[in-house]
């Protein structure tokens, strides 16, 4: 067969009965692309000689270098059996776990799949995965057992042993299929039972109910699912040597030679049958009688002897004999070649060309687009939990269109885009350079000649006058071309399910959440202006392509049942979409990805000025990759989330070379922490009860440290109450830090949005303005209050909810400021709830009320441990005295002097800082009292610094109060769900244990041998986790990580051994892995804070630098 012409393909596209859409699936390195190569070679696109070495469909450079496929790519092939010609749309898919998203995109577009299995390795983890994927998408698989040559040359099995080995592999595959089948049946059954139960409950009718105990397995026939050579859905092959052996072929050959009917032979060739040579009859029970099974005798033995002659013994004469008997013509240079493999593949590719059996099997066993199962259509069309029956009538009618797959003009067009891929603009057919025809060459020559003449003339003129501008247009042109050359164009990887797609046609783009009922009620068509239906937009098909591996061919129209590329959709399609001319069409069910994106890295440009380019590039990457996610975090980090390390590497390469075209660096993302306090422990580290004396000792220690700096204004008493006076000795605050119960913290965190609105309300109320609040928000606030009240019970928390002063940080965080000052009744945060009753005891807001709040906000925003926000801490202000600052005017100014002096000592920025905060405090308390005070004080701006001082004092007091309690670090936690088979369970636990993970529970998935393990894992330990777990379990376990909550790390970062027992246990330095200390120091080091660490551990062990010794 020569080079396939485009016209022929177009002609074949019109006949869906002869179209086969199929993909090749397998574990990594089982020979998908090599097999694809052989199939491509059969069409003459590449030479037979290069098949298996070129890896034609691996068009990316890194794919060729690494030797693994990283994307799915399609190619259209022709195949003819007798009279019938078939068009095969073949999609090659990657086998690596990281790219299983690409497999999903490929599987969705196909009707059938070739599952390739390595004859030596057998069923591998990814094989199971792809079988499951094929199963979930309802597509029919056929099996190719590849690398048969390895059985002969590497394992040196005899043909008999090989037969048994192959049988085992088939059993394994069928076991996997069987499991999928049973789990599906069980699931269906469970669903049915549930429904029945519901029905029964609703009916509530008595009567004897006969419970059906049978598992339902018996009723359902599953024989058609299994792979067996006698069914004709298994082929044994060696793609690298270029041969394969389907049953049909051999049956055909031997039926002639032995005079046994082909059908009989086909049935008996695989299985426990043997040939009775005398009787020329096929008998049963080969194993029992110790005879060679038919398959061994007729098929394997022949292949074995060929290998023996060509590769092992290199017997020239025998080879020649075989060659003649097989009727194969051998090229002289092949037989002379020193590498026997060349000779072998030359013989094999003529004797049993690989494409023959595989392609005929594909054409016979895999369904055409016409026989799409109704079940599959329903599955595609019913999104989420919606049942197909519940869809509108018009939509249900579309099912017929699917099933007919008609290419009539009036049939509704339905297209599914499974992924977008980037193509160099230069590679598009309209921009490609065609070989020039004779005439064009002549024309160009003419042009060049003329130009030359012009230039000569111009030169002559130039001698007379300066003719500079002549060169200008010539210079400009190449620049423009360069600009175009660097662009990437997105082409959608799609399939037509119904109707004919034409170039320039306008279609609806249906987003995943689009609901056909809404659109139908509006009644609109694609030609209209865009209707206002959510998740619906319009686009036009700018160009259509035939996908030919690395190349694209432009097409005018594509009839239904074909796979195609669509250009010009990058504006309206993000990753995948459903396109249709009918608004009744529902969006297809989203692709199910086996591997979720879990490997997170932060990406930065090497040169900070290239940030916009990076963002643009990441946007393109997001569109081009079905699995990658990109996001910008609140910290300003640009985070890329990928499925695995290999995938990450590919994404980075793409960013660097294609999308952003800048130098980038990827690093570990910043890990957030929270700081909190806990109740003092009852037992020490060796489980001894902590005596009262010792507790005092610890606090004493803290006091010593803190008093080192601010000894005269700070006082810490033994119960943890911190009293602090401002530097001008006018104001004193006493603060105590109390740990909040866990539930309260969680509640506050969950309702942060509500608290934010509450704060806004309060602010406007304080100014005397009224904002109309919806009753729903008020209700929500009331509920929050009552919830808090129910959670904060006990003697210690009496009436606390009423006394809440503020939340922090940023006014809506999970920390509370409590007003426990005697005789100070300020309006509580709940004031918006009690609108009418303001008449009673008028609450008074003291001056500088806001300074206290601001101090609290600053303190909660960055804690003393490592400047991370606080969480779950309640600061209770127990005492707050201010001497009226207006009367001792003189003293005030003096003090203010000293204060400002102190501030300016730190440089301009601190001065600015205090003024910032002080002014903030002031501005917010723009109440009437403030205004009054202002007039009192007149033009003297002395109180500004006073409020600033109060903020600083409050902040310090909070920090000291925090430090007076046992401090703890809180780590962000992931919940981690791992699916693993029983044999790797132990290794999964090992990895989890090493990374401080904790297993919550583990259960077996019903009907399968998979275990589901639920664990929690600190975010700080998750870097490289996915990779490690995959490596250790050889890919049999796949984790999924989702952020769940904050958890207190139980160890105290400041802990040092104090008692005799503790010394005994931990030694003097206690440097045995204090997790909290490790995290804390890492954060402090990152931020450039002081870390209590010696620069040199051992003074004597430094390198001696003196010369005279």
């Amino acid at each position: 067969m020569g080079h396939t012409s485009l016209e022929k393909i177009i002609a074949l596209q019109r006949n869906p009965a002869n179209i086969r859409n199929l993909c090749i699936l397998a574990h990594v390195d089982h020979g998908k692309t090599t097999l694809a190569d052989c199939l491509v070679a059969s069409n003459g696109i590449i030479s037979n000689r290069l098949a298996g070495k070129l890896r034609y469909l691996d068009s990316r450079e890194d794919e060729q270098i690494r030797g693994i496929t990283m994307k799915s790519s399609a190619i259209s092939l022709l195949y003819a059996i007798g009279e019938k010609e078939y068009l095969l749309n073949l999609i090659d898919s990657p086998g690596h776990v990281d790219f299983s998203s690409e497999v999903s995109t490929a599987v969705r577009l196909c009707d059938g799949a070739i599952v390739v299995i390595d004859a030596v390795e057998g069923v591998c983890p990814q094989t199971q995965v792809v079988l499951r994927q094929a199963w979930l998408e309802n597509i029919r698989p056929v099996l190719v057992v590849n690398k048969m040559d390895r059985l002969i040359t590497e394992l040196k099995l005899t043909s008999q042993e090989a037969y048994i080995h192959l049988q085992k592999i088939l059993e394994q595959v069928n076991a996997v299929t069987g499991t999928l089948f049973t789990s599906k049946v069980l699931e269906e059954r469970a669903e049915k039972e549930k429904e029945e139960k519901e029905e029964k409950e609703s009916e509530a009718s008595g009567g004897d109910q006969v419970y059906d105990w049978s598992a339902g397995l018996e009723e359902t026939d599953d024989s058609h699912l299994y792979f067996s050579p006698d069914q004709g859905n298994v082929v044994f092959a060696s793609a690298i040597d270029g041969w394969d052996s389907g049953m049909a072929q051999f049956a055909h050959i031997y039926s002639q030679r032995m005079g046994i009917r082909a059908e009989v032979l086909l049935k008996t060739l695989w299985g426990d049958f043997y040939l009775n040579a005398k009787a020329k009859k096929i008998m049963k029970g080969a194993q029992a009688k110790g005879k060679k099974p038919l398959f061994v005798q007729l098929v394997l033995d022949n292949i074995w002897s060929l290998y023996d002659a060509v590769v092992t013994r290199r017997d020239k004469e025998k080879v020649e004999k075989m060659v003649t008997s097989l009727g194969v013509k051998l090229m002289a240079r092949d037989s002379r070649h020193s590498d026997p493999k060349v000779l072998l593949s030359a013989i094999c590719s003529q004797w049993l060309p690989v494409s023959q059996a595989v392609l005929s099997m594909v054409c016979e066993k895999l369904p055409s687009p016409l026989d799409m199962a109704a079940e599959r259509v329903e599955k595609l069309m019913s999104v989420g939990a919606r049942r197909f029956d519940s869809l509108p009538k018009e939509t249900q009618e579309l099912k017929q269109a699917f099933l007919q797959c008609s290419s009539e003009e009036n049939a509704p067009v339905i297209v599914f885009v499974s992924k977008m891929f980037a193509v160099d603009t230069k590679a598009l057919p309209q921009n490609k350079q065609r070989p020039l025809t004779q005439e064009e060459i002549a024309q160009r020559r003419e042009l060049a000649r003329q130009r030359h003449a012009d230039r000569l003339a111009a030169n002559q003129q130039a001698e007379n006058q300066d003719a500079l501008p002549v060169s200008c247009p010539a210079l400009r042109q190449p620049k423009l071309e360069e600009d175009e050359g660097t662009k990437e164009t997105f082409v959608a990887f799609a399939r037509v399910y119904s109707g004919v797609v034409k170039r320039g046609q306008r279609m609806f783009v249906l987003g995943p959440k689009f609901d056909p009922t809404q659109a139908l009620s509006m009644g609109c068509s694609a030609s209209d202006a865009l209707p206002a239906v959510p998740h619906l937009s319009c686009c036009s098909m700018e160009s259509l392509y035939l996908l030919m591996g690395r190349e694209l061919e432009g097409l005018e129209e594509v009839p239904s049942g074909n796979i195609l590329g669509i250009g010009g959709l990058e504006e309206c399609v993000l990753k995948s979409a459903t396109l249709s001319t009918s608004p009744a069409c529902p969006p297809f069910t989203p692709l199910n990805f086996e591997a979720a994106a879990i490997v997170r890295v932060a990406i930065e440009p090497k040169h900070p000025s290239e940030m916009p380019k990076l963002v643009h590039g990441m946007r393109l990457l997001n569109q081009a990759d079905p699995c990658a996610e990109v996001l910008i975090q609140e910290t300003g980090e640009h985070v890329l989330v990928t499925a695995g390390e290999v995938h990450l590497q590919r994404c980075l390469d793409d960013l660097r070379d294609r999308f952003a075209k800048i130098e980038i660096s990827a690093s570990k993302p910043i890990i957030p922490f929270r700081e909190t306090v806990v109740r003092p422990p009852k037992v020490d580290m060796v489980n001894e009860e902590v005596g009262k004396q010792q507790k005092v000792a610890i606090i004493h220690q803290v006091k010593e440290v803190s008093q080192g700096r601010l000894s005269d204004t700070l006082h810490v008493d033994s119960s943890g109450l911190v009293t602090l006076t401002t530097p001008n000795r006018l104001a004193t605050v006493a603060v105590r830090a109390i740990p909040l119960p866990q539930d309260v913290t969680r509640l506050l965190e969950d309702s942060s949005e509500l608290i934010r609105t509450l704060e806004q309300l309060n602010m406007s109320l304080r100014e005397g303005r009224r904002i109309d609040v919806s009753p729903r928000t008020l209700e929500a606030i009331t509920e929050l209050k009552s919830q808090l009240e129910s959670l904060l019970q006990g003697r210690k928390w009496r009436n606390t909810v009423e006394r809440i002063w503020a939340f922090g940080p940023r006014r809506y965080g999970p920390n509370i400021l409590l007003n426990s000052v005697e005789g100070y009744h300020r309006p509580s945060v709940w004031q918006c709830l009690v609108k009418g009753e303001r008449s009673g005891e008028a609450p008074v807001v003291r001056d500088f009320d806001n300074s206290i709040v601001s101090g609290f906000q600053l303190a909660t925003l960055s804690g003393p441990m490592c400047e991370e926000p606080l969480m779950g801490v309640c600061f209770s202000v127990e005492q707050w005295d201010i001497q009226s600052s207006s009367e001792p005017q003189h003293q005030d100014s003096v003090e203010e002097d000293s204060a400002s002096h102190e501030a300016s000592g730190d440089g301009t920025s601190t001065a600015e800082g205090t003024s910032e905060t002080s002014a903030q405090a002031e501005g917010i308390t723009a109440g009437p009292s403030q205004a009054k005070r202002r007039t009192e004080a007149g033009s003297v701006d002395c109180y500004g610094p006073v409020s600033g001082q109060l903020i600083a004092a409050m902040k310090d007091a909070c920090r000291h109060a925090f430090q007076a309690q046992p401090q703890r670090l809180m780590a962000a936690m992931y919940t981690c769900e791992i699916m693993a088979t029983a044999e790797v369970l132990g290794r999964v636990y090992g990895v989890l244990g090493k990374r401080e993970g904790r297993v919550l529970h583990e259960e077996m998935k019903e009907g399968t041998d998979m275990f589901i393990i639920k664990a929690i894992l600190p975010v700080a330990e998750s870097f490289g986790f996915a990779d490690e777990i995959r490596k250790r379990t050889s890919g049999l376990a796949s984790p999924q990580l989702v952020f769940s909550h904050w958890e207190v790390i139980s160890s105290d970062p400041y802990w040092v051994p104090t008692t005799e027992e503790e010394y005994l246990h931990f030694g003097e330095k206690a440097d045995s892995a204090n997790q909290a200390l490790k995290y804390m120091n890492a954060v402090r080091r990152r931020k450039g804070l002081y870390v209590e660490e010696k620069i040199v551990e051992h003074a004597e062990k430094q390198r001696t630098l003196s010369k005279n010794k």
């Binding site: 000025s609 963002v615 609140e634 920025s909 501005g923 403030q930 931020k1087 010696k1094 003074a1099």
Partner: protein, 250 residues
Amino acid sequence: MSIFTPTNQIRLTNVAVVRMKKGGKRFEIACYKNKVMSWRSGAEKDLDEVLQTNSVFVNVSKGQVAKKDDLSKAFGTDDLTEICKQILAKGELQVSDKERQSQLETMFRDIATIVAEKCVNPETKRPYTVSLIERAMKDIHYSVKANKSTKQQALEVIRQLKESMQIQRAHMRLRLVLPAKEGKRLKEKLKPLLKVVESEEFDEELEMVCLVDPGCFREIDELIRCETKGRGSLEVLSLKDVEEGDEKLE
């Protein structure tokens, strides 16, 4: 006793000398390198790891030990360990290489952290990461000065970075309420200080919400306070105008 033979002399290597003048006399002690700063910061608690020998010298390199009388006259005690501690705490010393290096490194980080906290990318209103700022600082070859405060240097860095990348200080969002009378006049005066005026309402009072550079906050504050004699008010809505929450790029 000053016979210098190889057998009766103790040679000290890796010496860092800490000197102190007290009572008109100079005293020196011999310490290990890279250890004195750790002692002062409290990280090193073992005195033997700091001191080479606990004798006090007049001149370490010559091996001249201080006389007992001088010591007790200057320090009021003859407990050598106590005197060593005093000299360690208050004496002057040459900072060793590693100490200086770690100090500069910490300051460098600190400066980068402050810059990252204070600044945003004006296009996206999102902060830059610390590591990006660090890289940018290295690109402009910023050298840390050990004797200037980190905050001061951070402001300097911001100014220099503006030339090479898109960076600006995060704006403060303010709400100004001005009495109607002075409103117009004051607005003219404030205009050069305000970056963006987000909303403006003028009925009984002039109410404006605007973004300003934190650097000129003080000026605005003073201006309003003096000009309106306490009737105008100023309210900080947010200290840093940054985007909150994560954003998915799509």
